[in-house]
Amino acid sequence: MSSVPTAVQTDDPTVVPKPDDGGRGMLDSRVSVGLQRRVVLRGLIVAAVVLVAGLFVPDLITSSYYMGVAADGVVLGIMAIGIGFLANRSGLISLGHTAFYGGSAYGLAIATTHWGWSPTSAALFAIVGGTLLAVAIGALVIRSTGFGFLMLTLAFGQALYAVSTLTSVRSVTGAFDGISVTYPSDSTTFLGLSQADLGQPDTFWPLAWICLVVVAFALWLVGRSRFGVTLEAIRENEERARFSGYNTYLPRLGAFAISGACASIAGVLFALKASYVSPDVLGFQLAGDSLIATIVGGFTILIGPAIGAVLYIYAQGKFGDTGNLELYMGLALIVAVIFLPGGVTGWVVEQLRRLRTLTAGRKEARRS
């Protein structure tokens, strides 16, 4: 992670680049924290390559079952990387992201089915609505930390679940029956995809994949930005951050809102794919699933939770076949938490690091 020291470390376009000073440790008097153009460009290239490569996944996975696993995994993964972002950047573990996921799924279903909106504007409405909900809930819970935060987010998520099942809102949410997403007309499309296309894993895939890559890239940018550094400082030592002149409430709220926006995008994708929304999207089961996927994948790495989510959906299918889904999922979680403290991706990174020091050591030995 350590950045290569360069003489010109500034993202201010008005600054004329100065000659390299040989990479000595002294600081440029201009401030160098934040997004450097070269780093951003490199990230953009990586994201573009990954994005294009991912579009070929349906050509590789011919089984529609596994394609479904991949698509569901990516949708859950978008929510999970949002949860992981909050955990990593702010040290806050949320069990309430179903509020934004489910809220936006219902938003899409209600806007299309009851209000006759096009799925495109309904999707926008749902994502904005889910994010605003995150701002509102975040404003109330973000001052708490640790278990307090965990329980408060859970409480808000469950409250929303309870609301969705009320008989008095049955005409809107369908209560326990849920709502079938109905588009204004059969010819209505979402970004060129018909409702039937959205329901098919291989035709739905590009949409989900593009969303995942765009969300991951956006989070990566935020994490590396000055705002991301501020968040890290607040996570590390909130008191010192305040004594360094930072208001710590608003950045934390910002991180929560960003994280909620990810869950909202995932919720919309879910509603588009399933064309059916029930209280399950607000339920505790999903809150647990998304958090477990985040932990299993490992949130020290941005995309860890997304990988965790795909593994999670895959394992759920496999373990479900045995008829003992909960038992095996529980065992798998225990193994992951005990033996893979950084999650699957944390473990892989650790092995790579070890391998690198090993080969570096051998090279050193050969030289001497």
């Binding site: 350590s2 020291p5 440790g25 002294m26 600081l27 008097s29 401030v31 160098s32 924290v33 000055r226 550094v229 501020t230 890290e232 400082a233 590390e236 030592n237 008191e239 010192r240 951050a241 305040r242 004594f243 360094s244 002149g245 930072y246 208001n247 710590t248």
Partner: protein, 236 residues
């Protein structure tokens, strides 16, 4: 002196329930002046710092920064308006590199010349190491360096020598003395090391059980019979 004081606090009182930790303490510090606060354990030195810096709300009294009443201002506001502090228990950003955190604080507090602060604390060689990986003494330096970023008018230093070796502590005190003069900062220094305080400070306040026992130039304080009896006497 108090006419030109940049930090002026009057009647500073801090109560924890029935206990009065700081009892109507006055202080006035002018730019470039290093003001030491000494006293036995439990004298209320750290509480006094918390009161001045806004970490704790005053039970009574007033704190003025450059003539402006900041008693009710939040710590973040105080920092960006010229009042900084360091902590008795080193308070840095452990996971972040020295460079990242210094730059972050510099940006927030509009420091133009971070290099000179880095040089003053000889941190050049450690810039790319995370704070958790450097020695305690260096963390201390980072802590105090962060407090000096942005040319604050007032710096409150809570036992900068705590946890340092005798030698390191002496060097740290000399350093603070020099920086205070160079940067024209009004500094309040709480310290256990009484000899160090008498050596480097321009003015000294002696606290005992939350009250001011004596206050003035080092020579006056040293000669004060009350101080000798209550505090210094036992060590002489």
């Amino acid at each position: 002196m108090s006419g030109s004081a940049v930090l002026e606090a009057t009647g500073v009182t801090l109560r924890y329930g029935a206990v009065v930790a700081v009892d109507a303490v006055d202080i006035a510090v002018a730019p470039g002046v290093l003001h030491g606060v000494i006293g036995p354990n439990g004298a209320g030195k750290s509480s006094f710092m918390d009161a001045l810096s806004g970490r704790r709300r005053l039970s009574a009294g007033k704190v003025l920064l450059g003539g402006e009443d900041i008693t009710r201002k939040k710590v973040a506001w105080r920092r960006t308006h010229g009042m900084a502090r360091s902590f008795q228990r080193t308070s840095v950003f452990n996971s972040m590199t020295v460079r990242t955190q210094l730059e972050m604080v510099a940006r927030r507090n509009r420091e133009e010349d971070l290099d000179s602060i880095i040089a003053a604390f000889a941190l050049e060689a450690y810039l790319d190491q995370p704070c958790s990986a450097i020695s305690y003494g260096l963390q201390r330096s980072v802590d105090i360096a962060m407090a000096l970023i942005g040319k604050p008018h007032v710096v409150l230093l809570d036992e900068p020598g705590a946890g340092l070796s005798q030698e390191e502590s002496v060097r740290m005190m000399d350093h603070i003395r020099a920086l205070c003069t160079e940067r024209d900062v009004a500094a309040v220094l709480v310290e256990h090391d009484v000899d160090g305080v008498f050596r480097v400070c321009d003015e000294i306040t002696v606290l005992s059980l939350g009250k001011v026992l004596a206050s003035g130039k080092p020579a006056e304080v040293r000669a004060d019979p009350v101080v000798i009896e209550a505090y210094l006497g036992s060590q002489a």
